[in-house]
């Protein structure tokens, strides 16, 4: 029983990381109507920045995280500006999707060039060792607890931002109708830039937490979590902020439990199998809206 609880908590923690990545995916999708397949690579870049500041320059974890947030934000906004924006309104939505895949390869190869292909051993940004409960039978690592707390704080902050602030409302307006949003005086390009900035900053945070929990860093570190977070976002209902959170948590828990109790080789197959089943039953995801025609 205690070991089940232990695994459940690990699943929650991994799921919280997926959730933070999925929030970035889902916001960009919801507002810019595009899948930024390079989102996972923003995580990797953020992690390398932290690694450089903390390990190479001995700069401390908090400065490392802050520098990573700034770098990822700049990369996200710049990528959108030079690679995605010119294709907005292109005849086929595939154009921007393929470009995003191109950006993903570009960032991975850039990291290969700059940092090399060897695995870097990441110094966790959370130094707290955690809690020991039930006479030492239940150990919860500090990074696990911090990850779960951080994801909840981010969820609440985003929900408040989107529902209660002027810029947040502008985002929702752009998500629903860009033309009508323009008529309101909303600068659509600027709103999409802000969305990319937020999503990319979240990627840096996710990178710090991911590499603290699984401290080996390569240029491909972001790829798989990126895809899993995309699955989480679709599972929860793409475009929905609470959906990304629920999807991420579900995915993390399923992944850890199936690794533990079924097979570690099969766990990814199970994760993607669940996605397929959920989409067959509920094509819009758990919290996705049913698209209904309004009379």
């Amino acid at each position: 029983m205690l070991s089940f609880l232990q695994y459940l908590i690990s699943g929650l923690s991994l799921g919280s990381i997926y959730a933070i990545i999925a929030l970035g995916y889902t916001m960009v999708y919801g507002i810019a109507k595009m899948l930024n397949f390079a989102h996972g690579d923003f995580i990797m870049i953020g992690s390398y920045v932290i690694f450089t500041v903390v390990t190479t320059l001995s700069g401390g974890s908090i400065p490392g995280l802050l520098v990573a947030i700034v770098c990822c934000t700049l990369i996200g906004v710049t990528t959108e500006r030079i690679a995605y924006r010119p294709l907005r309104g292109a005849a086929s939505p595939l154009a921007v999707l393929i470009t995003a895949i191109g950006v993903s390869y570009f960032l991975e190869n850039l990291a290969l060039l700059v940092f090399g292909s060897d695995t870097k051993s990441f110094t966790p940004v959370v130094s707290w060792s955690g809690l020991v409960l039930a006479d030492g039978k239940l150990r919860i690592q500090g990074v696990t607890i911090i990850t779960i707390i951080v994801s909840i704080v981010i969820l609440i902050a985003l929900q408040t931002f989107v529902n209660k602030t002027r810029e947040g409302q502008a985002m929702l307006a752009v998500a629903q109708d860009k033309g009508a949003a323009t008529l309101m005086g909303i600068n659509v390009n600027r709103t999409i830039s802000i969305t990319f900035a937020i999503g990319s900053a979240l990627a840096a945070v996710a990178g710090a937490l991911l590499c603290s929990a699984y401290p080996s860093l390569t240029p491909y570190t972001g790829a798989m979590p990126g895809i899993k977070a995309f699955v989480a976002a679709v599972l929860g209902g793409i475009g929905s902020i609470p959906g990304a959170m629920i999807g991420g948590l579900c995915l993390g828990i399923v992944e850890i439990l199936s690794k533990t109790y079924i097979s570690s080789q099969l766990s990814d197959a199970i994760v993607f199998g669940i996605l397929i089943i959920v989409l067959l039953v509920r094509p819009t995801g758990i919290l996705g809206k049913n698209i209904q025609e309004k009379v």
């Binding site: 629903q176 033309g179 323009t182 008529l183 909303i186």
Partner: protein
């Protein structure tokens, strides 16, 4: 000087020319109707005025200022608001949130609150439903919301694109009454309609748009009496 003046406007969708050089003007305090059948270019005209489309050539002057190249999001703060075709309210947002977005371009909080009061007074139904998602409103209520949202910017001129489309005769009358009242409150109106009879009845002047060209213009009362207009647009 006209409040709004359009000179030789040409607009293309790719290689298709939707506006073939149209010119017209709206004076302060007028209701001007722009009528024409489906596909004539009415919506294209309003989209170009609001900066959602860029013209290939021609000029748009607003208060004498050339606004042809002003980006769309800067138009509403200059005093020109639009009630778009098909209402285009933000369906997942509440009525109140939609209205607040209508005042997005305004800085002064007190003025925004005053506009809320004005809009709720004019549309009591919107006040009753202020916390309801806009997508769940009826067609007539959505039209009122789209109008209220445009009024939240306290515009000098309001562009309306087929506000009576798809509504029952009773609601059509109600909408036209509201247009008249909004005009009496001091707002200039450029009204695009397929319901030519109703539009000409409340307008001062009118232009007839035919496949991207203005074919007829004149006093609304004269057009109402014109034989060929009656045949082509009033179904007589």
């Amino acid at each position: 000087m006209a409040l709004l003046e359009v000179k030789d406007l040409k607009v293309y969708y790719g290689v298709i020319q939707a506006l073939k050089g149209i010119s017209f003007h709206v004076d302060k305090g007028e209701i001007v109707a722009l009528i024409g059948s489906n596909g004539a270019g009415k919506t294209t005209t309003l989209h170009t005025l609001s900066g959602l489309l860029q013209p290939r050539s021609g000029e748009i002057l607003y208060n004498g200022k050339n606004i042809t190249k002003v980006p769309g999001h800067k138009i509403v703060s200059m005093g020109m608001a639009q009630v778009p075709e098909g209402r285009r309210v933000f369906p997942d947002l509440t009525v109140a949130q939609n209205l607040r977005l209508g005042a997005y371009s305004r800085k002064d909080q007190a003025e925004t609150e005053a506009s809320f009061e004005y809009v709720y007074k004019r549309f009591p139904r919107l006040k009753e439903r202020q916390n309801q998602a806009a997508g769940t409103l009826s067609g007539g209520e959505q039209q009122m919301l789209a109008m209220g949202r445009a009024l939240m910017s306290h515009p000098d001129i309001i562009l309306m694109d087929e506000p009576s489309m798809g509504l029952s005769p009773i609601l059509v009358n109600e909408i036209f009454d509201i247009i008249r009242e909004v005009h009496e409150d001091g707002t200039t109106v450029l009204l695009v309609e397929q319901n030519a009879k109703k539009a000409l009845a409340i307008a001062d002047r009118a232009y007839v748009l035919e496949t991207g060209t203005i074919s007829t213009e004149g006093k609304a009362s004269d057009l109402l009496g014109d034989e060929s207009i009656r045949k082509a647009y009033l179904g007589e």
